[in-house]
């Protein structure tokens, strides 16, 4: 059965997720947003077969886990049609918290720091970058892949016509009350300590630290 993808797009910078999904199979775009400012049309231009915008005012005040509950419920609804189990694609930029939380909520395997994914011999093969090496991992759907969207090629495409579905919480079996308790888990604006770099006394100490962090791959031209 041909895989399919569900791309969790929260902002325009996440559009590379749609292109990654289309490379895997039929792709549905889901966005939790009060409005999508035209990026859903661009997602359809990239080849998304369906676009779903889900919003309720309760989502504005909830935290990463409330958003994850919502997206997981949407994935379950989309996946209830008996078609192929999905590969859920989430962005891995900024806090990178929603994708792993969705995976936990859905009970799916997940892989982060992903820079690409393909289908090979019926398996999902993802390229994961850590500590100076890109490793290829093979697994099966359903799974969640968290992609480093800021490292993927930017999307330059015009909008395409098509229908955007608008869902509310009731469509996915949730209520605002179920999310409201997460309000207190969400950090609020509050001045904090200023950033200050770690200052090393000399470059030898700096070099030792960069090696220990796994960031130095020495090479001589």
């Amino acid at each position: 059965m041909k895989p399919r993808a569900i791309a969790l797009v929260h902002r325009e910078d996440d559009l590379p997720l749609v292109r990654a999904g289309v490379a895997l199979g039929d792709t549905v775009v889901v966005s939790v947003a009060p409005d999508t400012s035209g990026w859903m049309e661009r997602a359809r231009a990239l080849g998304a077969v369906r676009s779903v915008r889900l919003w309720d005012d309760a989502l504005a005040a909830t935290d990463y886990l409330g958003i994850a509950y919502t997206l997981a419920a949407a994935v379950r609804v989309l996946g209830a049609d008996g078609q192929a189990p999905p590969v859920v694609l989430a962005g891995d930029a900024d806090r990178a918290s929603v994708g792993p939380a969705v995976a936990e909520r859905l009970g799916m395997p997940h892989l982060g720091n992903v820079v690409g994914a393909t289908v090979e011999d019926g398996k999902i093969v993802a390229q994961r970058r850590t500590r100076g090496v890109v490793r290829r991992f093979a697994g099966a759907a359903p799974c969640v892949l968290c992609l480093l969207t800021h490292e993927l090629e930017p999307v330059h495409v015009n909008a395409a016509a098509g229908e955007e579905e608008t869902w509310t919480l009731s469509r996915i079996g949730l209520t605002a009350a179920e999310l409201s308790y997460r309000r207190r888990f969400k950090p609020v604006p509050s001045p904090g300590p200023p950033h200050a770099p770690r200052v090393f006394d000399n470059v030898a100490a700096l070099a030792e630290r960069l090696r220990a962090d796994g960031l130095i791959m020495t090479g001589k031209k």
């Binding site: 990463y64 604006p189 770099p197």
Partner: protein, 292 residues
């Protein structure tokens, strides 16, 4: 606050410096708040006689208790945290110890596992956090300065947070710590590694606009770190960014280093060294080449 846990990430069998820094700040916070501090180490196998430096190091750096969680799957990892290899160990300790605070070093691996560990616990999650004690209470922020955000109230719920490199210093502890061993049952892996290749991203050496005198030193450093030169104005994402005193550079990376420059320039980095940028660049290049 009862239990504070710090997950110790290893590289080549040694704890990452950032993990020890997180342990250090957790030590200081735990001492002030009367919490018990656990250093949690996922391992493929328990250390044998003669290999117990790890436990001694964690005790010396502040752990009250060291929890070694053995799991065959950890041996199949590439040394970085990954949910498929380390998630079971993290779930086991969080179920057993019910931490009020669970900390990770802010590494690429932690970005993958920490939010999922938080979701599993129903915890709040902070990325690259500050943790301090203010007025005898734990204060937590995400972000810096005027744009920071904090968790308000009495924090009657667990918090999972990552701590960035260089933010805190090491702490001193006792010579000994209690050691507990846990074991995760074998299971089928979720993802299997099928190949690898070197990271194609270069390191970047950022040269301030118009600073022609830095050219030779910058090229020497770029050669030493396997990188390329870039002007300060170019947006880019690199493995490592080294700025030769340039302020306002646009490139981002896993780590940003500033050599020389004024205070404003150095404030952009995660790491900095004061001095003449050209001299620092040459010295760093030669130090790296001589030790490779």
């Amino acid at each position: 606050m009862a239990n504070v846990l710090v997950v110790i990430e290893l590289s080549g069998g040694q704890p990452l410096p950032t993990s020890l820094e997180a342990l250090g700040q957790a030590r200081r916070v735990s001492t002030q708040l009367g919490a018990t501090l656990f250093a949690v180490v996922p391992l493929e196998r328990a250390p044998t006689y003669g290999e117990d430096d790890l436990i001694a190091t964690l005790a010396a750096r502040g752990a009250d208790k060291v929890v070694l969680v053995t799991d065959d799957a950890v041996g199949k990892s590439d040394d970085t945290l990954r949910w498929g290899t380390h998630g079971a160990a993290l779930g086991l300790v969080s179920d057993l110890l019910s931490p009020s605070l669970l900390l990770f070093a802010a590494t690429a691996g932690a970005r993958e596992v920490a939010p999922r560990a938080a979701a599993r616990m129903g915890a709040a999650y902070l990325c690259e956090a500050w943790l301090e004690v203010r007025e005898e209470r734990l204060a937590l922020w995400e972000g810096c300065g005027e744009t920071a955000e904090s968790l308000e109230g009495d924090l009657e719920f667990p918090v999972v947070a990552t701590v960035p490199a260089g933010r805190y210093t090491l702490a001193d502890g006792d010579e000994e710590a209690e050691v507990e061993m846990l074991a995760v049952p074998p299971r089928t892996p979720d993802f299997v590694e099928v190949g690898s290749e070197p990271d194609g991203r270069p390191a970047l050496v950022i040269v301030p606009e118009g600073a022609g005198a830095l050219g030779a030193a910058a090229e020497e450093l770029a050669g030493a770190i396997g990188g390329t030169l870039a002007p300060a104005s170019r947006p880019a994402v690199a493995r490592l960014v080294v700025s030769l005193g340039a302020a306002g550079f646009a490139a981002g990376g896993e780590s940003r280093v500033v050599l020389g420059g004024d205070a404003a320039a150095r404030a952009q980095g995660d790491y900095a060294v004061e001095g003449d940028p050209a001299e620092l660049a040459r010295t760093l290049a030669r130090a790296l080449v001589s030790s490779s």
